[in-house]
């Protein structure tokens, strides 16, 4: 009986502790306080976008989860720290693609003293809530690599690939490679993700423009989880419908690598258009087994993101239009331009910096 009584008391005590700990007198509010004042204080003037002193700015670049896409962020972040004399630039991510875990990581980074955040939101439909929370606490926030779903962006700015446009370009490249007729298959990522829906729209748009000559045979989603999943899906696809397929357009990393390998090994006549510039994909472009790839600009996102965040965090500049969405660029790379595409990408990054300095930022 004694044991049971102790247990009951302890149980009651724990619940009571949770309830009572809230009773501590305090007047600090957790609720969102609108942070419109800073935006309202925008003073378009003759100031310069040359960062005066970024030593007090600690930038955290936070990917949505582990993915090869974010590899360039690490090097570019470290370079930006040196180039602009920032206090710190860290790239930190969660193991799982989970919005709640990303939110927790962001608040932990804030507690560790980071005051400017470049975030690739896990859930495009939820990330505005996260941005509002961060903004309400006075941090500079950029949406990098992916923009919030819908017309509103509550971060200071969004610098990202226009995913619908990139998918459209990829589908167009596929259609060109197919000889502008035949059947096309689209391989992509998580179906219940707003960006995937945009990619599907982009591909459908290009197919519609072919005037019925190109038929979209199938859109296969949810195969970007890992390479094995993608390899299995592509093998199944080629086994079942290999003879019918003239082109494969991929708008996610793992399906792209899997499709490049499978088409090469099976000797299928399907023309593959991949995404990103993984070494395997670039080799496949060089040997002709992949027709083209659509390359994005993650390094530019990290470099321009860190620099602009420092300008905003130090209050040297404000956004002319808060929440501005900027395309970081996407480039179709074929056998012809595979050697020199990085120059185009660097040129785009330089152009972005100029665009921010001249138009998007008001520095006073």
């Amino acid at each position: 009986m004694y044991y049971g009584t102790v247990l009951r008391r302890l149980g009651g005590a724990a619940v009571a502790a949770v309830l009572l700990s809230g009773a501590a007198a305090c007047t600090v509010k957790n609720s969102d306080e609108p942070d419109e004042q800073r935006a309202a204080a925008a003073r378009p003037g003759s100031g310069t976008a040359e960062l005066a002193d970024g030593s007090g700015t600690k930038v955290a670049l936070v990917p949505g989860g582990a993915h090869p896409y974010f590899q360039p962020w690490k090097k570019t972040g470290a370079d930006a720290e040196k180039t602009y004399g920032l206090g710190d630039v860290v790239v930190d991510e969660t193991a799982e693609w989970d919005q709640q875990k990303q939110n927790n990581l962001l608040s932990t980074l804030a507690a560790r003293g980071y005051n400017a955040f470049g975030v690739f939101g896990v859930s495009p439909t939820d990330i505005n809530t996260t941005f509002s929370d961060l903004k309400s606490q006075g941090f500079a926030v950029a949406s990098l690599g992916s923009c919030p779903a819908g017309p509103t962006n509550k971060a200071d700015f969004c610098l990202s690939t226009d995913v619908e446009l990139a998918a459209y370009k990829a589908a167009q490249a596929s259609i060109d490679a197919m000889g502008r007729e035949g059947t096309l298959v689209h391989l992509t990522g998580n179906n219940v993700d707003a960006n995937t829906q945009l990619r599907i729209k982009g591909v459908e748009k290009a197919v519609q423009e072919s005037g019925g000559k190109v038929k979209l045979l199938q859109t296969i989603t949810d195969i970007d989880k890992d390479l094995q999943t993608a390899q299995k899906a592509v093998a199944d696809l080629l086994a079942a419908k290999g003879q019918e397929i003239d082109g494969i357009v991929t708008t996610a990393y793992n399906p792209a690598v899997a499709a490049a390998e499978a088409v090469k090994n099976s000797g299928s006549r399907a023309k593959v258009v991949a995404i990103d510039d993984d070494a395997k994909i670039l080799d496949s472009i060089k040997d002709g087994s992949v027709s083209a790839t659509v390359v994005q600009n993650p390094a530019g996102q990290a470099e321009i993101g860190a620099w602009a965040l420092a300008l905003l965090q130090t209050e040297q500049c404000v956004m002319t239009t808060p929440g501005q969405v900027v395309d970081s660029g996407s480039f179709v790379v074929t056998k012809e331009n595979v050697a020199g595409y990085d120059r185009d990408r660097q040129a785009k990054t330089d152009e972005l910096k100029k665009q921010f300095a001249d138009e998007l930022l008001s520095c006073g």
Binding site: V15, V28, N30, S31, D92, D98, N103, T125
Partner: protein, 358 residues
Amino acid sequence: MRTAAVAPDAGTEEPQTPPRTSDRLPFWVNQRLGLLVLTIGLALLFGALRPAFFDARLVLFPLLRDISTLTVVALAQMVVLSVGHMNLAVGRMAAFGALFAGFGYDRLGLPLPLGLLLCLAAGAAIGALTGWIIARTGVGSFVVTLAMDFALLGLVSLAYSALTENAAFTSTPAGLDELRAYSLADICVGPVCGSPAIPQIAQFTVLALIALGFLYSCTRIGRELLLTGANPAAAELSGIPTKRRVVTAHALSGLLAALAGFMAAAGTGTFRASIGDDFMLPSFLGAVLGGTLLTGGVVSVVGALLGTSLVAVIRKGLDLLGVGLESLNIYLGCVLLLALSADRVRNVLSYRKVVRST
């Protein structure tokens, strides 16, 4: 608040232990006490290493909001564990409930409480259906809930794709943002306000804890659930409607999973298909760390809270120390292993002490 259908330590202690021995175990053997001490100790350690650990708004508030949601997830698993079953579909049931809440708010324009009720009803219904299939067919809960997990994965994704443009219900009712962002600091009696570290959303967790504590310790249904888990044949022979209790447990699990789904959606902002994706492991971790037996018959309601808190505190502390992604899970695994080993060592020591004294 650990409740057992048999002697409290049956199944975890040496089989030769006389039943009355457990009554004489010293108080420090108590697993919940150990967890509480360990959690507080670790929190103090992390606080000493990084004073920011006690930052009410940036650390404690999100930490407690996380603990609130995951405790409800652990309770959803604990309820089915009490009848010796398991619920592998706990995450999808959360997504299923959240789907109804999102639909209610977005399409039917329901106010906050009615959407929550719809969410809970949907969760309870899908849980009851699962329980009914198990009870009716006699197929193991592992198989049935695994099948239900797959079925709901497809169903929920299809529903979101068909009903929404961005695969999420983005319109939210009045009050949801406040529920997410407000703490007890927003509740003031005269000049005195509550702590900014305690999220208001924790009210659901506290209610669930109290309700389940009452169910298992004070009601006949609670006892029947535990007896069904401890020995289904004996329970059946004693006149307990075991099949009905199985349905009850699964319905309750579905309801709690749906509540957790609602809390997760409120926490991030929208009702979407990926809610609950990561619920399954924490559900077992919280419940089992807290002292609930996988074999059924023994539950610990407060243990689920403490088990979940321990894991969350370790994770947050390591995050604050800047432990990298690769190392974090290794450290987490090591600390949890130590926590469980310490519990075992305590039990063995106390057992020896009791044997010596008899």
